[in-house]
């Protein structure tokens, strides 16, 4: 029985239960916020990631080459809401969006647009019909950059940029 009580000490010492989870880590330089998901997740889903552009891309080539970060991390998409953070260099970003990616390997060429869909983008808080601009301050993060992603209305890149034949 003494061993049993030793087990108590071990179990009690391991893990501290629920802990605070800041959306934006204090050391982060970049963007952070939450993504609200709705709709039916397509079977071909590989992941969802957040990307930013210093200027609004004009072509498919811009879409791939000017993306920040170039190799994005994924956001958990199976829950109705997920927090995310993205490291970016300080400065203004004119398009910040959530991107859906279907299964398949990216090549970092314009051909990648066949695997990608615009799932949602940050909107101007004053006019939600317009794209919002985000400024990443020096040595800090821009918070509250939230998205709504509806898996039932994913949009192809050609809705936003002009793509020449690949």
């Amino acid at each position: 029985m003494r061993k049993a009580w030793l087990v108590i000490v071990v179990l009690a010492a391991c893990g501290r239960g629920l802990e605070p989870e800041p959306i934006c880590a204090p050391s982060l330089v970049g963007l952070c916020g939450t993504v609200h998901f709705s709709g039916t997740i397509p079977d071909s889903t590989d992941n969802v990631f957040v990307a930013a552009y210093v200027t609004f891309p004009q072509t498919c080539n811009d879409l791939i080459q000017n993306r920040r970060p170039v190799i994005p991390g994924s956001v958990p998409y199976t829950d109705s809401i997920a927090a995310y953070s993205v490291e970016l260099t300080p400065g203004a970003y004119h398009w910040v969006l959530a991107v859906w990616k279907k299964t398949g390997n990216l090549t970092l060429t314009a051909a990648d647009t066949a695997l990608l869909r615009v799932a949602g983008y940050y909107r101007d808080p004053a006019d939600s019909t317009q794209v919002g601009m985000v400024t990443v301050p020096n040595g800090a993060a821009a918070g509250d950059i939230d998205f709504r992603v509806n898996f039932d209305s994913l949009r192809p890149a050609t809705d936003f940029v002009t793509c020449t034949a690949q």
Binding site: M1, A4, W5, V7, I8, L11, A12, G15, R16, G17, L18, E19, P20, E21, P22, I23, C24, T34, S38, G39, T40, T78, D79, S80, I81, A83, G143, D146, N150, D152
Partner: protein, 734 residues
């Protein structure tokens, strides 16, 4: 047939007074203390009683001649003796029982609906005594049984070996009875754990395993039987005062108020009794600020009980209770952006701003009457009638909901002992439930049942078999019949302990709430399903209770297995199903869609390494659950069923004082309902309680530090479980 009728008439015939005597006496421990609540029985007959507050007992109608008498008490070794009784005479037989911390519970009334004295039940039964309840310094029944091995509460819903899972307020696969009277709500099938104060409770028995063959629907996963205090002779009063405080959140960023939350309660009970009648009333009031935002709770209750013995062989009991609650409803915790989240992904102590002002007004009460007549030592009959009423108003944004439910029950039962080694029980039961509600509609449900069971002792083996047939009708429609058979056996191996085995079929009829609910939950429409069928399952159990090991330890272990069909579980649906519609078209409906298996091991060890000083307990339950959707070959675990439950407890006594600790570990459930649509955060439960007690004369003082490590956890998504709570309780009883 003629022989059976003749046998029945023979055992039912009352004996002449000249052939009967009265057995009376006292029961003491070897230290000379009078033992209250000790069981005295004439095995193989209908005759039994318990000692009163003076440690005295009296059994009438004892047949003259050489009579075997059994005496037992919690924490003491039982005594079997034989006494010669003269007809028409009164014989005194005093007992002295030796303290035995490893002693098994002296009586089991829940497993077969007739008392068994000094015998192990064929299905696992756990008992929580009055002493256990007082030592834990708890205030409600659910808190009293929360530490029993294999028992887990999930937001007020009880799980026995993973039976129920969690569906907020719509069902229970466990039946609660109070003194044998079913007390599950008529409309929702749930259990009102706060209807009775723990001051009114003498003991709680928990039958772990399907009990439908005797108890019918709702006993699919087991039975919790609450035995209320009997009314002793003389005048007795009891006052209990409790005050306490909730801990602040362990992290400053979670802090939501400037002053600590408080709680307090006061309870009063008084009783007066003579040999022929007695009455008891009790009342209590409780207030809690709650441990999180919008969590205030006010509770008021009254209870009463009366007994009357109009003749030497008949006893009438009438009891009732009424409780009024008004409690804030914290609903789910605040997720990012839905309150002042202070830059946090979630704020577990806060609620979404839209939920502010949500509260529930609840009123519930019951009245029950029972009569038992011991016609002869071989024959007794009993009957009962009961009425349980519940009324709730959920004040929510943007609309409120209400429901009024009734459950009327009646039962007649015959207990016969045609031979000293044989017991037969037969009964009929009728239940009528109705509901008037804006979310459940206006409906009624009728249930009629007949059951029978026979037990036979053959050498060291006790074999029992029986069945129950239930007929169900909703809104006066056609009847659905369900048959629930069960066979069981126990083998008393003397020095090798006791083996038990049982197999039985359980069932649960859908509650009216499950069939007809139409509301909104977690942002989804919940739609009715009037075509729900009863869920059924076969349960198997093999168990062993060891003899004392190394003189200071006893082991009880069981392997259990339930194969269930048509389990009623919430499902996410799209309407119509063959179209692709936006998320708004997704609805929740309760459906018979699951085949399920619940299997596992349930083991407990009690040890008394320092006799009279230290008692330690260890309980472990392993659960392996699977469910398979209709038309789908993939399997996954049942929602809200943890794989591992561990309970540890220890009590050390010194003179008038004692200290104790309880630790509870519950592994993180692998699955929850609506996974993907709710916050997936959930952690294992690791809760340590510390307590101390001091008794002198009529005064008891207790201190309880529940969740002393202030471990922050949740049992269901987005709902915070209680934080560290320190309470001080003072009891004066006379």
């Amino acid at each position: 047939m003629h022989r059976a009728i003749a046998t029945l008439l023979l055992v039912a015939a009352p004996l002449s007074a000249a052939a009967q005597g009265v057995l009376r006496g006292t029961v003491r421990s070897t230290q000379g203390d009078l033992l209250v609540g000790a069981s005295i029985a004439i095995p193989g007959t209908t005759l039994s009683t318990r000692t009163d507050r003076q440690g005295m007992y009296r059994i009438l109608l004892v047949p003259a001649g050489s009579v075997r008498v059994h005496a037992g008490a919690i924490g003491h070794a039982f005594v079997d003796t034989t006494v010669a009784l003269t007809g028409g005479d009164s014989t005194t037989l005093d007992f002295t029982l030796r303290p035995e911390p490893l002693a098994l519970p002296p009586v089991d009334v829940v497993s077969d609906r007739v008392p068994h004295f000094g015998e192990r039940p064929a299905t696992t039964v756990a008992q929580v005594s009055e002493r256990d309840i007082s030592r834990r310094a708890v205030t409600t029944v659910d808190e009293a049984i929360d530490h029993v091995a294999g028992v887990q509460f999930v937001n007020g819903q009880v799980n026995l070996r993973g039976s129920t899972g969690y569906v907020q307020g719509l069902n229970s696969r466990v039946l609660m009875t109070v003194d044998g009277v079913p007390m599950n709500q008529g409309d929702r099938g749930g259990i009102n754990w706060d209807l009775l104060s723990v001051d009114d409770i003498e003991s709680v028995e928990i039958l772990k395993g399907a009990g439908s063959s005797l108890y019918g629907s709702a006993a699919f996963g087991g039975v919790v039987n609450v035995t209320t205090r009997d009314i002793p002779t003389g005048l007795h009063t009891r006052v209990r005062l409790t005050g306490g405080m909730y801990a602040d959140p362990p992290h400053e960023i979670w802090k939501f108020r400037d002053t600590p939350g408080l709680l307090g309660s006061g309870d009063f009970a008084a009783s007066y009794g003579t040999d022929t009648w007695g009455g008891r009333i009790s009342a209590g009031d409780r207030h809690s600020d709650g441990y999180r935002e919008q969590d205030q709770d006010d509770h008021l209750h009254f209870a009463g009980k009366a007994r009357w013995q109009p003749s030497v062989n008949t006893r009438v009991d009438v009891s009732g209770a009424w409780a009024v609650d008004r409690y804030d409803v914290p609903l789910t915790w605040c997720s990012r952006g839905n309150c002042d989240d202070r830059g946090q992904v979630f704020q577990p102590f806060m609620i979404d701003t839209i939920d502010r002002g949500a509260r529930t007004d609840s009123r519930k009460g019951y009245v029950a009457a029972q009569v038992r007549t011991t016609v002869s030592p071989q024959f007794a009959w009993s009957a009962r009638a009961s009425w349980l009423r519940t009324h709730f108003v959920d004040v929510r944004y943007p609309t409120s909901e209400f429901g009024v439910g009734d459950r009327f029950g009646a039962e007649g039962r015959i207990e016969a002992h045609p031979a000293p080694t044989r017991t037969v029980i037969v009964g009929v039961e009728a239940t009528y439930s109705d509901v008037t509600s804006d979310i459940f509609g206006i409906h009624s449900q009728s249930e009629f049942a007949a059951y029978g069971q026979s037990e036979q002792q053959v050498s060291a083996v006790r074999v029992s078999g029986g069945a129950r047939v239930d007929f169900l009708a909703v809104d006066g429609g056609s009847l659905t019949a369900v048959v629930s058979p069960r066979v069981a056996a126990t083998l008393n191996g003397k020095g090798a302990g006791t083996w038990r085995a049982s197999v039985g079929r359980g069932f649960r009829s859908p509650t009216m709430a499950e069939r007809f609910v139409s509301t909104t939950a977690l942002g989804f429409r919940v739609i009715p399903n009037p075509t729900l069928r009863p869920e059924t399952g076969w349960s198997f159990e093999i168990g062993h209770t060891s003899a004392p090991i190394f003189r200071f330890m006893r082991l009880d272990a069981a392997v259990f297995w339930t194969e269930a069909r048509d389990l009623i579980e919430p499902q996410l649906l799209r309407f119509p199903p063959d179209t692709t519609l936006p998320i708004d078209s997704v609805k929740i409906q309760l459906q018979n869609v699951v085949r399920a298996r619940i299997a596992g091991i349930d083991a407990s060890v009690i040890a008394a390494p320092i006799p009279d000083r230290l008692i330690a307990t260890l309980g472990y339950t392993f659960l392996d659950t699977r469910r398979r959707l209709a038309g789908d070959t993939t399997e996954g675990p049942l929602a809200f069923r943890p794989r591992h439950l561990v309970t540890l407890g220890a009590d050390y006594s010194i003179g008038a004082g004692s200290v104790g600790a309880d630790f509870r570990y519950v592994s993180r459930p692998e699955s929850v309902e609506l996974e993907g649509f709710v916050d997936s955060r959930r952690v294992a439960v690791k809760v340590l309680d510390l307590r101390a007690e001091w008794r002198r004369g009529p005064v008891e003082l207790r201190v309880l530090a529940a969740n002393v490590l202030n471990y922050i956890y949740n049992l269901v998504p987005e709902t915070l479980a209680p934080v560290r709570t320190i309470t001080v309780t003072a009891v004066w009883s006379h």
